[in-house]
Symmetry: C2
Subunit: 271 residues, 2 copies
C-alpha cells in the first residue's frame, strides 16, 4: 500500500468540501467527519442546521456499545430545536443512476454488488435500481426509534466494531469519520443496557460541533482523501486483495468492502 500511495499523483486525492465536513470537539481533541449529501441530502442539511444553531454544543456522548457504536445526543432530551427539524423521513437508499460507483469485483455476504461511491463504501442492486451506503467501521449515521421517520440527526452514531451490515437500509447513514476515530474507540464502554452510560458523570462531554466552513482557515484540519474512482484506488484495492509484502504467506485473493482502506492523510502543503 505504501508503494501505491507513493506512486499516486496529486490529482488522485481530493480535499473534502468544508461545507460538508464536521468537526466534533472533545477534551481529547477533534474528530473530523465527512458528510455524504449524495446519499442523504436531507439528513446532511438538517445535521448542519442543528450544528449551526449550536444544538450539540455542550451535549455528550451517552453510549459506547462494545463492538458496535458510539452515540451522542442531548443527554437530557430537553434541548430546544430552533430552525432545524427534530425528525425526518429516513433516507435509506437512492436511485443508482446519478451516483458514481466503482464496483468491487469481490463477492459480498450482504449485497449483490458492493463498491465505492464518492469516497464512501456503498452497495447497489440492479433489480431495484437503488444504491446505498453500507455500515463499515467509522460510518456515521442518524439514530432513530422504531418509526422509520423518527430519526433526523439529533442523535448520531459512529460504527466502532465489526461492520454491523444488518443495519444497512434500516437506518440512515450520512457520512463517515475521516480522522480521530481513536478518540471514540478508546472511550470506556457503557455498562447499561445497549452500552449506555449509567451515570451522568460517565458521559463524555462534547465541547461543540462545527461545520468546517464556519471555522477560521487557520483552525481547520486540512486533510486529503484518496479518490475512489481512479487507477490509484484500483491499485490500492488490488494491493489489499493480494498482499505482496514479504510477511504474507498466502495472499487472500479477495477483499471485503469494509476492509478496503479509504485513505486520508494531512493535506500536502502547496508548492
Amino acid at each position: 500500500m505504501g508503494d501505491v500511495l507513493a506512486a499516486a499523483k496529486p490529482e488522485d486525492f481530493r480535499a473534502p468540501n468544508p461545507e460538508d465536513t464536521l468537526y466534533l470537539e472533545l477534551a481529547s481533541g477533534r474528530v473530523v467527519m465527512e458528510l455524504a449529501p449524495l446519499f442523504a441530502p436531507n439528513h446532511v442539511a438538517n445535521v448542519k442546521a442543528l450544528v449551526r444553531e449550536g444544538y450539540f454544543d455542550g451535549s455528550a456522548i451517552v453510549r459506547v456499545h462494545e463492538n458496535y457504536v458510539v452515540q451522542w445526543a442531548d443527554p437530557d432530551g430537553k434541548r430546544e430545536i430552533k430552525r432545524a427539524q427534530r425528525t425526518l423521513p429516513a433516507e435509506l437508499d437512492r436511485p443508482a443512476e446519478g451516483a458514481p460507483f466503482t464496483p468491487l469485483a469481490d463477492r459480498d455476504t450482504y449485497a449483490a454488488e458492493v463498491g465505492f461511491s464518492a469516497g464512501f463504501p456503498a452497495a447497489r442492486d440492479a433489480a431495484s435500481g437503488t444504491a446505498w451506503l453500507v455500515h463499515c467501521y467509522a460510518m456515521l449515521g442518524a439514530g432513530r426509534d422504531v418509526a422509520p421517520d423518527s430519526g433526523g440527526g439529533a442523535e448520531l452514531y459512529v460504527v466502532i466494531g465489526h461492520a454491523p451490515r444488518h443495519l444497512d437500509r434500516n437506518v440512515t447513514l450520512f457520512g463517515r469519520v475521516l480522522s480521530g476515530m481513536e478518540r471514540l474507540t478508546s472511550l470506556p464502554r457503557g455498562t447499561g443496557a445497549l452500552g449506555f452510560y449509567e451515570k451522568p458523570e460517565q458521559r463524555v462531554p462534547i465541547q461543540r460541533i462545527r461545520v468546517a466552513a464556519d471555522v477560521p482557515a487557520a483552525e481547520r484540519t486540512e486533510l486529503e482523501v484518496l479518490r475512489t474512482d481512479t487507477p490509484a484506488f484500483e491499485a490500492l484495492v488490488e494491493s489489499r486483495r493480494n498482499r505482496r509484502e514479504e510477511w504474507f504467506l498466502r495472499p487472500a485473493g479477495h477483499v471485503e468492502v469494509c476492509n478496503v482502506p479509504l485513505v486520508v492523510r494531512p493535506k500536502a502543503p502547496a508548492k
Copy 2:
C-alpha cells in the same frame, strides 16, 4: 436473540474446559480466553507452558493498533524461557476431517465455506481438505516475524477491529476472548508505527496470566458458552440473519460469519 436464548436448554450450553482457559489479569480486571487445541495443539500447549512458568507475569500490552489488534509481549525481549519453546512452526490449518463443523449457508468474501467448529469461527476448503480458524473480532493469535516458524506464543494478539480476514492462514490463531474484551478495546491507541506505544510508561502492565485450572475454584470466572452444533445455535444464526424485532425495516437475509454472536454468559448456578 433474547427469545432464542430464553428457549435454549441447559444442554445447549457448555462450560469451557478450565485446562484450555486463560485468565489475563490487568489492573482493570480479568480477560478470559478460551484456547482451541483442535486447531493449534502445539501453540496451545506452548502458551500454557509459557503461562505456567510465569513468562507473561509482569509483562505488558505493548501495542494497541486502531481497528486492528491489541498485542502483548515481553516488553524488553530479555525474558528467559525455561521449559517452553521460544518458537514453533505455524499452525495455519488442519485436516477438515476430524474437526466438527456447522456450516453457515451464507456466502463469504474470503473462503469457499465458513461456519463454526467447536465454538470458534472457522472456514473449510473441500479441494485441499483443510479447515482453519478465521480472524473475527476477539480472536486470539500468536504474532510472528517474517519467517513462518518465528511465532510460537511469546507474543500474542487479539483482534479489536473489523475482521482482518486477510490474515487467515497467514498467522496462527489458537483461541478467542470470552469475556473482558472491553478491557482491551478501550485502551489508548499507540501512536508509534503499527500502533506500538512509544514510551515504556504508556505500556499497560499485565499482572499475570494463569490457566484457569490452576486457579482456586472460588477465584474462577464461571462462564458458559452456547454450543455451535445445536438447533438452538441454528435458531440464533437465523435470528441474526433475519432480524424480526419491530425496529428492523428490512431483514438482511444474510449473515456474515464474524457477525454471528458466539454467546457467552455467566454460568447458571447449580440447582
